[in-house]
């Protein structure tokens, strides 16, 4: 057993498939080419910032696929491992459904909703910091305890 590759243990070939050096090396070089393309694409003006973003993410995704498929050996992995890979990213996209909230409402990027000065400053409603023990009780409904 010591002299033979461990991969021969498994009848199914499975994940113990030994990958050839040229594949790994070629994959690395190809990833580096993609990296340079990423950089080039970011300096190139496609006319619209959205296209730029999409292109950048597309190249990153291609890179990710090559890392997962070849380096991580999903190419030879069991069906179960493949399902987990797809499910993992599937649920990730599901989570991006959160953005649906922001896309479907007229979102207001509001800042300066109060001054940054802690104790009043220009604001007539100073944030109470540290919070006061008793708030000012004004109006007709001052509610005595008990």
């Amino acid at each position: 057993m010591a002299s033979t590759p461990l991969s021969s243990d498994s009848k199914h070939g499975g994940h113990s498939h030994v990958q050839p050096v040229w594949l790994l090396l070629g994959n690395m070089l190809w990833l580096m080419v993609l990296l340079i393309i990423t950089w080039w694409a970011s300096t190139f003006d496609f006319g619209n910032v959205v296209i730029n973003n999409v292109v950048a993410m597309l190249i990153a995704t291609i890179k990710a696929v090559f890392v997962i498929w070849i380096f991580m050996g999903v190419m030879h992995a069991s069906k179960l491992a493949k399902i987990w890979v797809v499910a993992g990213f599937g649920f990730l996209f599901l989570m991006f459904g959160i953005l649906g909230d922001y896309a479907t409402r007229q979102f207001e990027p509001v800042s300066g909703w109060e001054t940054n000065v802690p104790n009043g400053g220009a604001s007539s409603f100073p944030r109470q910091w540290p919070p006061q023990k008793k708030p000012e009780q004004v109006g007709e409904n001052f509610r005595p305890r008990g």
């Binding site: 599901l94 989570m95 479907t104």
Partner: protein, 578 residues
């Protein structure tokens, strides 16, 4: 039919001879417990620690209830009250509900049920307990050292900028406890996939295993999201990294999105294993295969999947987009269907069964009633129009207590009683346990039903005072009364179960005459679970109510007493022999 006859009277006599060494008495040293890789011992470690946390959480609950009997309070200051209800929520959610059924019953049963020697990763399993304890200790430490007053939901910006309490430490504890959850989830998934005994096909799995598998999926997909979300609050408090800070242009509502993206599925982490326990109990005590096995199995997976699509129904009025609210409401109504299917199927299982009203069965029947109410009141909150009025009130408090306590805790108690002989090798006293199960049901309803009414009237949750609205008081008094009964009914099992450890009659391998691989091995099981790995040839829940009924009749004719007393007698006679 199987090698072991289905009739309990026969089983009790012809039980597998009790092996002398089992997982409990294999080694008595403390070290052997703290460094164990045995899933059964880890389950016991979890049982002890989770019971302790449950006790602490219950004390907090009692304080809340007593404080609220008076409109202006009479025990606590407002600040203390806030810390107490936060402690109650955090302990019960993160240290009890999420852990109780999966980590205690699930850990103990999963390998036994599928015929494996252990979990796939025993050391990871032990690590999970240590992470849980580390998290628990940090959480308790934070509560002692300054307390935490932000509620278990930790809404920003209150928790990130305004809370003066020790939020950071508690959040760190929850973060670590989350990883304990994740390791348990990974173990469940891999064990179910890879460790099944020969012949144990997917559709021969007990429904408990299906439920635990679905739970594992929810855990590994959801928990990391909340972990990183809570980490962002820690970053904001400690390193000033402004992630949700409204002052700097961040969005506090985003926190709620991410939080509920986990915390809604977390509700299913709590209730799915309870469904599993429920299916086991119903099948065994109705002596009948669960009605619609496939539908129940798939509805567990459907709930796990759909559970990730409804987080937005916690945010209908939190300035979420109206359109998204509509979509989430629709999916929430859809997710109610698999739950309804389960309830109907359990009821239908009783039809033409051979029902035995023993303690676990009483809990299981109570579960059906309470969960039906809990689930249906969920529709009030999933329905957009009524949610606007009812959310953030006691209505929601009552609703999730009906699901969490009425569902998860009832199922946990039922399951604990059911598998107690297997876990400890001892029988608990049946009659007192039976009456106590009824007491839980009464106490629970008395505690939480009035909260529906007071919630509909508009009493907001997390309120310390209501002196300005004295019309709420009668309901709070009723609720506190009920909570006292409920507390009593939680203390009694603690006492008699502990007592049964030394005084209880010894249990045979299969005291219920149940089916399932866990009953094939001795009680308590040996360290390696099975002397030989079993090969499964039968379908799951292979009961035969008709034959059993005939056997019962024959036994009655012979005036053989019921098997439990029979069991006790045989144990006593064994004692005498010694």
């Amino acid at each position: 039919m199987s090698a072991i006859p289905a009739d309990p009277n026969v089983t009790a006599v012809s039980a597998t001879p009790r092996t002398e060494t089992n997982y409990l008495n294999a080694d008595w040293s403390i070290k052997s417990w703290l460094l164990t890789g045995d899933h059964k011992r880890i389950a016991i470690l979890y049982l002890v620690s989770v019971s302790f946390f449950f006790f602490l959480g219950s004390i907090a609950a009692g304080l809340i209830r007593y404080e609220l009997t008076a409109p202006a309070g009479f025990i606590l200051e407002s600040e203390t009250y806030n810390k107490v209800f936060s402690a109650h929520g955090i302990i019960m959610v993160f240290l009890f509900l999420i852990v109780a059924i999966p980590a205690i019953l699930g850990n103990f049963l999963l390998p036994l049920m599928i015929g494996a020697r252990d979990m796939a990763f025993p050391r990871l399993n032990l690590l999970s307990w240590y992470l849980f304890m580390a998290g628990g200790i940090l959480i308790m430490g934070g509560m002692i050292n300054g307390g935490v007053d932000s509620g278990w939901t930790f809404y920003v910006p209150y928790s990130s900028m305004y809370a003066n309490s020790n939020v950071t430490m508690v959040l760190t504890g929850i973060f670590i406890a989350g990883f304990s959850s994740i390791t348990t989830g990974i173990n469940f998934i891999v064990t179910t996939h890879k460790m099944r005994a020969p012949g144990m096909t997917w559709f021969r799995l007990p429904l408990m295993v299906w439920a635990l598998y679905a739970t594992g999926v929810v855990i590994i997909l959801g928990t990391p999201v909340v972990a990183v979300t809570l980490l962002c609050i820690i970053f904001e408090r400690v390193f000033h990294l402004p992630i949700f800070s409204a002052e700097l242009g961040g969005d506090p509502v985003l926190f709620q999105h991410l939080f509920w993206f986990y915390s809604h599925p977390a509700v299913y982490i709590m209730i799915l294993p309870a469904f599993g326990v429920q299916s086991e109990l119903i099948a065994n005590f109705a002596r009948k295969r669960v009605f619609g096995y496939h539908l129940i199995a798939f509805s567990s997976l459907a709930i796990a999947g759909l559970g990730f699509l409804v987080w937005g129904h916690h945010m209908f009025i939190s300035s979420e987009s109206m359109y998204q609210g509509v979509v989430f409401s629709l999916i929430s109504f859809l997710v109610a269907i698999p739950s309804a299917i389960k309830v109907f199927n359990w009821t239908a299982t009783l039809y033409k069964g051979n029902i035995r009203l023993q303690t676990p069965m009483i809990y299981a029947l109570g579960f059906i009633g309470l969960f039906t109410i809990g689930g249906l009141t969920g529709l009030f909150l999933g329905c957009l129009g009524t949610d606007v009025h009812l959310t953030n009130t006691y209505f929601i408090v009552a609703h999730f207590h009906y699901v969490m306590v009425g569902g998860a805790v009832t199922a946990f108690l039922g399951g604990l009683h059911y598998w107690w002989p297997k876990m400890t090798g001892r029988l608990y006293p049946e009659s007192i346990a039976k009456w106590n199960a009824v007491l839980v049901f009464i106490g629970f309803n008395l505690t939480f039903f009035p909260q529906f009414i007071v919630g509909f009237m508009g009493m907001p949750r997390r309120y310390h005072y209501y002196y300005f609205a004295p019309e709420f008081q009668p309901y709070h008094i009723m609720s506190t009364l009920g909570s006292t009964v409920l507390a009593l009914s939680f203390i009694i099992p603690g006492l008699y179960l502990t007592r049964s450890l030394s005084k209880g009659a010894k249990a045979s391998a299969n005291p219920w005459g149940a089916h399932g691989l866990e009953w094939e091995t001795s009680s308590p099981p040996p360290t390696s679970n099975f002397d030989q790995i079993p090969v499964v040839l039968d379908e799951v829940y292979d009961f035969d109510p008709v034959t059993e009924h005939e056997q019962d009749k024959a036994a009655q004719a012979l005036e053989v007493p019921s098997y439990l007393s029979n069991e006790a007698k045989s144990a006593e006679s064994e004692k005498e022999k010694r």
